[in-house]
Structures are given as C-alpha cells and as structure tokens.
C-alpha cells in the first residue's frame, strides 16, 4: 500500500450545536486522486477546508507528512485549493494571478514571471497572460485557477467542486485535463464533488460521505458493484434494493424472505450472517432481465407495470412498479428492449440471476 500523505485521526468539527464532521478517520495516500463525494451539507467541503487550514478541527488530529497541522495557519501550509467560485483576483491580470503565490513566498520578480509563464504555457493559455480575468471564458478561467494553485509545486492540490459552473461538454474536457495533469505531476489531488459522473471518471478512490460520516471508501468499481450499505446503494441509484430475512440454505443458494417474495442469492454473499438475520441485498439496474412472459426457469421473478422510461445516451432505464408498490429500475440498451412493449401500464416481468445479487455487508 502506498504511503500516507494526510491522516485524519478521529477528526471532529462542530459549528455550534451542529456536527459538520463526525469523528472521521481517513488516510490520503501520496499520489492518489481521491474524490470526496456526497450531497450538500454532508461535510465534504468542511473536510477539505480543514485540510486547507480554513477551519480548525474541534477535536482529533490532522497530520500532513506525519506532522500535526491542526493549528498551522493556512498561509503556512502548502495546500493550495481550487475554489468552486475559482476566486480569481479580478483586479489582477492572468499573469499576476498565477504569480501571486510565488510573490507571497518572496520569490523575485524575474523568476516568478518565468515560472508563471511556464505554467500558463503548460495550461495552453500563455497568449492570455496580460488579459483581465473578466475577458476569459469559463474554461480558460479554470486553467488560470489550476495554474495559480500548481505554480508553487505543492505535494497536494485541493479542488472544491471546480467544474460545477461549466456546461456538460466543457466539463468532460476539463475532467480529462485534470486526470492527465494528476498522473503527469504524480501529486495528490483531493477533489470534492456532489457529481457521481465526475467522481467515477477521475477518482482513484472515492469517499462517500453523509451527515458528517464516511459511508464507504473504495475504488470506483468496488463502490459501484459492492456498495457497503443501504445509504451508498441508494445514493448511487444504480441498484435495486431489497430488504428481508435470511432463510435456511437451499441447494447451494441462500434464500431471503422479503415482502415481495422469496429471492435467492449466492451463498458466498451471506457474509457470515445467521439464519433469520435481517439483511439487505442489491441488484444492479443493468443486471435486470425483462420479459413479457413469465420466465420459466428464473429463480428471482417480480411482476409489475411499466410506469415510465428515461433515456440516457445509449441506454434506457425502465421504471416498473410492482403490485405492492415497490419501484424497480432496469437499465437496458435500445437493442435489448426493441422487441418488448414498454408502453406505460404494460404488464412486465423482471428477473435476475442469483449471482447478480449482492448482500450489503454494512446492514
């Protein structure tokens, strides 16, 4: 395992009576692209701000390279940040913005000009060096903000939803730029976002937070396929969630009694749970099989009515409501459902294989 750069050791942050971050333990490794994801108010930005020294932890310890930095002023840390608003200085031109950090470190004019120009060149915006910030486009501003933060050659770069103001097209391009930049520089990026697509596109590891706590840490595929608990599964929205109780083993498969009937999962997924224990399992939207007739040999079948369709690129997500009111989502390619009638109110069967189900270990 790679070396730790930053350690959050039982860190808590309170604002008055509200707990923004609750006893957090987190290792950030050298050279990784870590994404902290969660909805607004989950404590992700507070975590980043504590790392930058803009908020001080109420309890616990934050260590950078093994050194406690709780009480180190922001301006004595080397933790540059790219802000959601970008926070470019409107009264300075592009070059002056980029060299700001070097100037504050007392570097002489000629050298800092040179370094700043080097970075502008690297970001492909050298020709705008003497422009005012207000004359730049959104994407160009992003690059200025990046150059301004990276020009001091830090070990770590903090990014607070920097792409949220860009349109979708530009966002994808900036994601690629950020990913490549991080690989080239080999430094640690800590990236805060509420956007799943950004997180999964760029992150080496993803931290999912909710109400000040970490719900799961892991590689994107890991989180996507094997969510730790109900919250993560629901937050990602990529799986159907079923709750029930374990029944005795049946022919190498583990039956689970739910409100919708008895479903089978692979025995290996039981995770050492006792018979009768309450349990939650998920089935990926894309693992659902649809048919007009009741499938003969399927072990896990539900019947329901189509209530709507949602088109995203090459796939369609079909929303189905079972007779007892649970909503099921099935994500299919256009080809796969070409022969099916998916008009609203059509009756339809949903089935899945036992190996497609995953029992949540955290429930």
């Amino acid at each position: 395992m790679a070396e730790s750069l930053v350690v959050f050791d039982n860190v808590e942050k309170r604002f008055g009576d509200t707990i923004a971050v609750d006893r957090m333990n987190l290792d950030i490794r050298k050279g990784e692209f870590l994404v902290i994801m969660g909805s607004s108010g989950c404590g992700k930005t507070t975590t980043l701000r504590m790392l930058a020294g803009l908020d001080a932890p109420t309890q616990g310890e934050i260590r950078l390279d093994g050194r406690r930095i709780n009480d180190l002023a922001t301006w004595r840390r080397d933790t540059p940040m790219v802000w959601q608003s970008l926070a470019l200085f409107p009264f300075l031109d592009v070059l002056q913005n980029v060299e700001f950090g070097l100037k504050m470190r007392g570097m002489d004019r000629a050298r800092r000009r040179g370094k700043a120009m080097e970075w502008l060149d690297r970001m492909g915006i050298a020709e705008f060096a003497r422009r005012d910030i207000s004359q730049l486009s959104g994407g160009q501003r992003q690059r200025v903000a990046l150059a301004r933060s990276l020009v001091t050659e830090p070990e770590i770069l903090l990014l607070d939803e920097p792409l949220s103001s860009l349109d979708a097209h530009l966002k994808v391009r900036m994601q690629a730029i950020l990913s490549n930049l991080q690989k080239e520089l080999g430094i640690t990026f800590v990236y805060v976002t509420h956007s799943q697509s950004e997180a999964f596109a760029m992150g080496d590891r993803i931290v999912i937070m909710s109400r000040g706590r970490i719900e799961q840490i892991g590689a994107p595929v890991e989180i996507y396929r094997t969510p730790h608990n109900h919250f993560v599964a629901e937050f990602l929205g990529s799986s159907n969630i079923f709750q029930g109780r374990m029944a005795p083993m049946d022919g190498g498969l583990l039956p689970i009694e739910t409100g919708q009937g008895r479903f089978y999962v692979n025995a290996s997924g039981a995770g050492g749970k006792q018979e009768g224990a309450s349990t939650t399992f998920v089935v990926g939207n894309d693992r659902m099989v649809l048919s007009e007739e009741q499938p003969a040999d399927a072990r896990n079948v539900l019947e329901g009515r189509v209530i709507g369709e949602e088109f995203v690129g090459a796939t369609v997500t079909i929303h189905i409501e079972t007779d007892d009111g649970q909503e099921i989502r099935a994500q299919k390619s256009h080809d796969e459902i070409a022969h099916l009638n998916t008009d609203v109110s059509t009756r339809i069967f949903v089935s899945w294989l036992p190996e497609s189900a995953y029992v949540l270990p955290g429930e």
Binding site: G101, M104, S134
Partner: protein, 272 residues
Amino acid sequence: MNRNWLIDWSLRAYVILALAFVFAPIAASFVFSFNADRFPSLPLGGFSLRWYEAIAEDPLVWEGLRNSVVVGICASLLSTALGFAAAYTDFRYRFFGKPLYLALALLPPTIPVVIMGLAMLAFLSRVSLSGEIHSVIISHVVMCSPFAMAIIRMRLSQMDPSLEAAAWNLGAGEWRAMFHVIVPFARPAIFAALFITMAVSFDEFAVAWFVSGLNETLPVRILGFLQGQVSPRINAIGTIVFLTTMTLVILAQVLLMSRSGGVDETPRRQEP
C-alpha cells in the same frame, strides 16, 4: 385608456415639479450670484462679478476656505480609514454585541446636529480641545465615518468571500492579504468614500459653528453672513462651494462606475 394616459403624465409632470422645487434655490443662487443688485429680486439687474470680487477681498472668507480645506482633507482621510476598518470588521467577523457595534458606528447622522454640536462643545471644552480647528476635525470624523463605512461595506459585499481565503491559501498572511486583496478590491469605494466624506465635511455648518470658536470654516462664515444682513455674497460662495462639491461627488461616482467591473459574478438582479 385615455384616463390612464392622463394620470401617467400628470404623475410625470409632478416629478418634474418636485425636481423644480428642489433645484429652484440652487439655480437661483447661481443666477443671482452674477446679479449686480444689492437686494436680489426680479427683474434681474445687470451682470456683475462684484459679489465674487467682494468675497475674494474678504480675508475671513479666505481663512474660512483654508480651514474648510484642512478640515475636509483631515476628516475625510481619518473617517475613511476608520470607516474602512469598521466595514471590514462587519464583513469578516461575527462577535458578541455586533448589533451594538454597528449601531454605534452608524448612528451619528441620526442625531440632530444642534445636539451633536452642543454635546461636542460641552465635552471638548471640558477636555480643553474646543475652539480649535482640530475640534471641528474630531466632530466631522464622528459624523462622516458612517458614510465611509456604508460605502465601503457595500463594495465589500460585492466581493466573493473566498477571495480573501484564496489569498491566505496561496501563502499570504492576514496583513498581506489585506493589502494585496481587500484594499485593491475596495479601492474604488475607498476613493469614493474619501470624496463623499470630504463633501459632507465641506458642507457641515452646525457642529462646526458650535465647536470652531474663532477658526471658522466656510459654511460657518456663510452662517455669519446669514445672521448679518441679506448679502448676495452667499450666492457667490454657494456657487463656488456647489461646483467644488459636485466635482468631488461626480469624481466619486465616476470612480465607482468605472472600476466596479471587478465583480466576477453575473450582473446582479436589475431593479424590478
């Protein structure tokens, strides 16, 4: 819709009437400052610069002007500095008793000038600071700093609050961030505050009259003329003072307009 049309236009006419009332004395004092008659009235007498000559030859007017300029410059520098500091405090900090702090900072213009004058006179003479030019400066700083604070505070509220944090984050300590980020951002408002407070100080007569003793400022001299017999010299001084203060105000306005392009967010909501 004929009736609506009538109502709309009579309302607009009324606006013009109100503006006429407001500007009548200003215009009249301009016109009559060039009028030769000793007792200004209609019809106009001949064109003359005698009132300008009269004030130009009056050493008291010159002394008043000198005092006014000194007071105006000192009061505007001091009250802008104090107002800036208070505006920054309000912008950045939350603390116990802040409403009280703001009340203390902003209340002086609501106290009648006569009472301010009496209070300042009584207090300053008790501590032997009365009757001098610095007594006027002290009082004017009290009265002007709320204006400076309000102007600069409005500018700061246009600032992205992460701008200052971004400077810290890039290695600037609080003092360096202040001079490299906050001050440059607020610069147009700082200049506007300097001009506006100078204009306020330049026009203030009541408190200055109470505390200035023999060191009369120009408006106090005008009060002296008013107490004496009616004299068109007031018109001449008034015209000069009006042109001076308007120059200051327009300069402030131009500064606020031209440099306010520094707001990097989308333009604020237009008034409805």
